[in-house]
Subunit: 320 residues, 2 copies
Amino acid sequence: MSFIITGASGYVGQELAAALLTSHPEATVTLTDVVLPIVPPSATQHSSRTKCIAADLTSPAVVDDLFTDSHRFDTVYLLHGIMSSGSEANFELGMRVNLDASRYILDRLRQVMPGVKVVFTSSLAVYGLAPPGFVIDETNFPAIPSSSYGSQKLIVETLLNDYSRRGFLDGRAVRLPTVTVRAGKPTQAASSFASDIIREPFNGRKAVLPVSQDTEMWICSPATVVENLIRAREIPKEKFGDSRAVNLPGLKVSIREMLEALEEIGGPEKRALVEERYDPDIDRIVQTWTPNFDPKRALEMGFVGDVSMRENIRQYVEGL
Amino acid sequence: MSFIITGASGYVGQELAAALLTSHPEATVTLTDVVLPIVPPSATQHSSRTKCIAADLTSPAVVDDLFTDSHRFDTVYLLHGIMSSGSEANFELGMRVNLDASRYILDRLRQVMPGVKVVFTSSLAVYGLAPPGFVIDETNFPAIPSSSYGSQKLIVETLLNDYSRRGFLDGRAVRLPTVTVRAGKPTQAASSFASDIIREPFNGRKAVLPVSQDTEMWICSPATVVENLIRAREIPKEKFGDSRAVNLPGLKVSIREMLEALEEIGGPEKRALVEERYDPDIDRIVQTWTPNFDPKRALEMGFVGDVSMRENIRQYVEGL
């Protein structure tokens, strides 16, 4: 077996590569990113089965080199992308990376490995603002993005759906909740605080909470996201029905509940490292993310539900 | 005032050009199409205010020539496109004309006439199959196209929405019902029969009905569609809210009701010219078009509702 992951230097890409290497002892995994990816530190014993390639996917020639008819991948994982805030700040860059590079890859794939399985990480940002309390599933609400990032994700989903319907490819688009608790460092993402307030205290550092404790979010643990990315390739295509896009399961949790879980597991001294410092700019963005999703379709298809906030934190602590 | 219409050789493009010339006595109208458009026969008295240009919009250089910063249009009407069956039969052509040419035009417009009003004819084909009896509006059902045509329309809508949100352009995407009764000739479109069974008898010719009389459709008269294309540019952008896409009003009508209206206005001898000859291929396509839409959003915004089937036929007969 042979997998390739684009955007493999990113947090989810690294976790997915490690999981694929561990769960598929015969598989080779190609990691590619604009920054030369490393073999995930937790999977260095498998480095003979990995191949790390620096590749700028906005270059058609680079894509042509990466995907050829002399080597067919079992699954192509498309995880590369300019994140939400970056796509909003730099429209042209977002279009080039999130849309044009993805479309060029899909077109290349249907030429050199027709019918290949493609797992695309989309986002719940394909949905704009929902009425308060309204619970979204895939059938009851239109995807009207309120960001360029969400628009670009929706467009690639639409292409992937049509390419799959026509038999060009076998696409699966999984819409990710906010992935929390992420290892690593705080980022410029508006959602960074959701990981920061857990991760930083466990590393002895202070964290800032820029929104109210009443704020509710739809999150998913990294382990569940990675498990579902693996399942996304294993679930028979027939189970997707009319749409190759699926809202991945997650957990609706308030910041208050997150802090309670932090204190329960880490004690009051860790909890004390979180400082509330309201930031209206971040709050305004976060308030547009609805926390209300019904993941019944994903669960019926065979995706797994998320763990509790406490279990999520325990998994993070175990990984330290 | 100065308007431009792409796809202006088509039936709706010609009707829109005539209506704009009539209703805006000072306006100039540029008609462009890959086939050199003519001045609409009903508007030849206004030919000094028209400009007809043959232009292949899949050529960036041609688009660059058509849209320059030395002449700002008040509204750009994007009506060009490869129709549903054509986009399904020739995927590459549909992508090039319906998606790539449209996107290139939007990008050119935001460079040379930022903020310009753009009216884009989308289609209710952005929706796939709906549950039997389910009544779609813009808020309660996802757009999951079941054709390449619908996918391409949805993608351009998504771009137009994001470009409008960012202030690049002032876009309005109107999703057209099946336009009936169309003048002209029978076409290869699966929906051709809906016009054929009225138009052909009134011209003394036989028409074939390939589906059951129980079949219900969501149609709109040409006059109402044209009126709403004019209103699409007049309605303040604020009324569109979070989405620049709107489901245009139409009329739910069964084939039986259409035939009854034909007989009432044209008499039994016209009705007798319609021959029922079941075509499973056409029926299968038509059954995927839901006839159930609630156009309340469009009506609240200021678009007009459609006329009755009888009035629709009378308008066709008056135009003969």
